[in-house]
Amino acid sequence: MIRAHGLTKRYGGKRPKTAVDDLTFEVRPGTVTGFLGPNGAGKSTTMRMLLGLDAPTAGRCTVGGRAYATHSAPLTEVGALLEARSIHPGRSAYHHLMALAHTHGIPRSRVRDVLDTTGLTDVAGRRVKGFSLGMGQRLGIAAALLGDPATLILDEPVNGLDPEGVLWIRNLLKAQAAEGRTVLVSSHLMSEMAVTADHLIIIGRGRLLADTTVERFVRDSGTGSVKVVSPAAARLADLLAGPTVTITSDAPGTLDIHGTDAEHIGRTAAAHAIPLFELTPQTASLEQAFMDLTHDSVEYVTSGAPLEGAAA
């Protein structure tokens, strides 16, 4: 369980920049929670505050019921992968993990286990300097899994991974959540989160934009419409018109209908003997819904609203 309450981070003295602005959310165990936002939205800063690396300007956050730094065995409480590399390139993968393991008295056998899980056993003795981006990510994930933690906090874990690696991460995260762990994973790619996450926390410019499930997010995003092509488009539009229905037309004979579903349109057309050439529900893609949401937040800020940091 991760809790953030009024979490705020401001940088700089005279012209402060607000990276995270009064963020309140909860991440529950047993599901994969996607932490989404465009680049610069404050995802990494929030994660660093959860891990006690950055001190919040205001507000507080707890992991597993208490501030991260107060846990007696933090690596067993939270496993973290940070976006910026946190590995000395001159050390081998094995020794990197062993150095971290020593701080908690975690045995060598566990280090071997996580190397195995992440597919790094064969390169464990090699210095990290020669690792590809994907191998570096795997090593970061191995370090996160080291303490068999109750919570995983992963910042952009699929960065630099090949398709096989992406699939591996996806399955790993789902398996970890299924075991009852709390999984918070950040991304700027909605499409990736659509297939990985159950729950979504979306931020833009450091503010909470949505805290919802993937399903509800798509349903509520309101961009679902039905495309209709008919030679009697104008007549059909008159028949469908109602207070909750909006109809737009981009081209002659083509309608874009919001507020009703394909079934109702089809039955109405049949009842009035209107031929239909096309009847296509336009499911809003997650990516589109996400862009709409974050686009709005950007517009809100640049429209002159008195938001701190907007001048920057």
């Binding site: 019921g65 991260y68 065995a73 590399r85 946190s86 000395h88 050390r91 020593h102 109750a150």
Partner: protein
């Protein structure tokens, strides 16, 4: 709700962070980098090689120089190597990002700095002591029969060899602390060379007696009082030198610890 282990079905683990374990981790970190081996070996070989050169080429010209200072002339160079290693131990972690992993594992932070300082000081002191003794004994092979013939058991000899090792260790600890304060390897090296090695030399050119007196207590000057059998001209006593040097190192490390607790990583 208030206990930590009830939020998930994961069993409580036997693992926890202890000071001894952080020390063990820092020991492991130090020895698993190639730079450590190269720097320590270079520092040691420099002292030995220069010591042998001094011994084989001695022709009686430098009669007024203290014997231990004479054979350990190489410590002037090894000091730079050891200071650089000290800076790498702390600032190197910021340069590579390793510090984020270190402080995520030990979020109380300060034990990491103490452990780094303790492991590094222990290793440097032992290495310097062994190197000094070996260099002294080897150099004496050629110095026998000259006015620089001394035995390890002669009064003050072992004290000077150990004093030189202690001085090198404390100077390197100051470098380690500067690395932690500045979080930058070039910055740390610049600060060490500038403030410890160059600044006192500049200050002594000022025509003020008070400045001259104060400079005697500066790290490099206090260190010079330690590695000599005979009293060093224009320097404090070995005891005072050791005390000043220890206080300098303690002050730099305390400042580094204070900032480590406060600053974002």
């Amino acid at each position: 709700m208030t206990t930590t282990d009830t939020t998930t079905g994961v069993a409580p683990s036997p693992y926890r962070v202890t000071p001894a374990r952080v020390l063990r981790s820092e020991w492991h970190k130090l020895w698993t980098l190639r730079t450590t081996w190269i720097t320590l070996l270079t520092a040691s070989v420099l002292v030995l090689a220069i010591g042998i050169t001094m011994g084989t080429t001695y022709d009686g010209d430098d009669a007024d120089i203290d014997t231990v200072v004479f054979v350990l002339f190489g410590t002037q160079l090894s000091q730079i190597c050891l200071a650089v290693l000290g800076i790498l131990v702390t600032a190197g972690e910021y340069a590579t990002g390793m510090i984020r992993a270190s402080l995520t594992a030990v979020p109380r932070r300060v034990p990491v700095l103490w452990s780094k300082a303790a492991v590094f000081a222990g290793v440097v002191f032992v290495l310097c002591l062994v190197t000094n003794v070996v260099t002294f004994l080897v150099a004496q092979i050629w110095l026998g029969g000259t006015d620089k013939e001394l035995a390890l058991t002669d009064s003050g000899v072992f004290g000077a060899l150990a004093g030189s090792a202690a001085a090198l260790t404390l100077l390197s600890l100051i470098a380690l602390g500067l690395g932690a304060l500045l979080r930058s390897v070039p910055g740390g090296i610049g600060a060490f060379v500038g403030s410890v090695l160059i600044l006192p030399e500049v200050l002594t050119t000022l025509p003020l007696d008070a400045v001259d007196t104060a400079v005697k207590y500066f790290p490099a000057q206090a260190a010079s009082a330690l590695g000599s059998v005979t009293h060093v001209d224009n320097a404090v006593s070995p005891g005072t030198g050791l005390l000043s040097l220890t206080l300098w190192a303690a002050a730099v490390l305390a400042a580094a610890a204070l900032l480590l607790r406060r600053r974002d990583v």
